[in-house]
Amino acid sequence: MIPQRRVPIIQDMFQRYVTYRLRRTFNVMEFNKIDIKPNHSILLLPNHFSWWDGFLAFWLEGKFFDRNFYIMMQEDHLQKRMFFNLTGGFSINPQSKEMITSLNYASNLLSDPTNLVTIFPQGALISNHAEQITVQPGIGHVIKKIKGDCQIVYYTVLVEYFESLKPSLYFHLLDCGTNHGFNFERMKEQINTHHRTVLQNQINVAH
């Protein structure tokens, strides 16, 4: 696996650039605020449906969570874009035995309360219209290995146009509790219920 080589100043500058790019590309970027527990690291689980997802998580971290950003990427993807290694990217290869090393590495990062690790729980790019969110079992492994306090946050992003020619993003955050008293099946159920409600409520979005 490729460990992260985060350089704070590069990451900070890149975040400014990403924010600028997102502002130019999207019309509205809205998210609901949840309670962030102090002195907890954050495990961020977004739905994965587009090229933008990593940048969206990065933007949201700067805007709302304010932690050191790390992200789990597929090994072949990261190898092609090693710059992301400097902005907190580390790799996972689901086909190799090293997968466990990557998962443990993520747990290690999460043991520090100043960190935020983004993992896409679906493990693949799946349509934004999908009603089911699959959560790979590796997530459970990561959470169980964390030493210390960690808050788990899931969010669904939906892309809409309405009256604008530019797309708008609607983030729907869900607090999935902490790593203490964690139950994998319960979290899966929580995430899917949240996702379905969000899809149904999208009809009522003001525009």
Partner: protein
């Protein structure tokens, strides 16, 4: 009511703009092939989630039907965007006597096999994530009056990013199997079936 106007220069300007902007804003557009009968006009009904829908279908019309494009648009939009009438836009004003004239005009257009008429039966913008498409009553009136003269096509449009920076548009089109029955609820039910099928196909996409 605002009628379509003929002006070769203005039509050219609008045509060029729409082609340029659709190409520029979307990664690619995919559309199903359907049979078009040469001695019948086409009535195309589609879901409405953005200002792009009309442009996308205008852009794809050559490929789908090859007939002369007309679209029913809201009077407010027609006033705000005066160029639309040079590309076959005619207006409809909800809750007014004018609506009868608009419906009559649509029927008149459908009597000529050279024409295609695009109608968004939802009557306003809804989310792209809705599960159920509701119809305004006007569509079935048009269908009753122009019975036998046209071929009914059902379209479901979905826009998503997938692995691309720009969105990918999938237009699922099918010919209506029973154009004979023009009852409002029956048409809506048939559209809904098509929409559900299209949506199921869309959510199956995994990369």
């Amino acid at each position: 009511m605002i009628y379509p106007q003929q002006n070769r220069l203005k039509h050219w300007v609008l045509d060029t703009y729409v082609r340029w902007s659709v190409k520029r804003n979307f990664h690619h557009l995919k559309v199903d092939k359907v049979e078009v009968s040469p001695d019948k006009s086409v009535l195309l009904i589609a879901n409405h989630f953005s200002y792009w829908d009309g442009m996308i279908l205008y852009y794809l019309n050559q490929q789908i039907t090859g007939k002369k494009f007309h679209a029913m648009i809201l009077e407010e939009t027609a006033i705000k965007e005066p160029m639309l009438k040079y590309a076959g836009g005619f207006s409809v004003k909800k809750n007014s006597r004018d609506i009868l004239e608009s419906l009559r005009f649509a029927v008149e257009l459908l009597n000529d096999p050279q024409n295609m008429v695009l109608i968004f039966p939802q009557g306003k913008l809804y989310s792209n994530f809705i599960g159920e498409v509701t119809f305004e009553p006007g569509v079935s009136k048009i269908m009753q009056q122009a019975e036998g003269k046209f071929q009914l096509m059902l379209a479901a449009i979905f826009a998503e990013n997938f692995e691309h920076k720009k969105q990918v548009v999938n237009v699922y089109i099918s010919n209506d199997e029973q154009p004979g029955s023009t009852d409002a609820t029956a048409v809506q039910k048939r559209y809904q079936q098509h929409y559900d099928r299209a949506r199921a196909q869309q959510t199956k996409i995994v990369l």
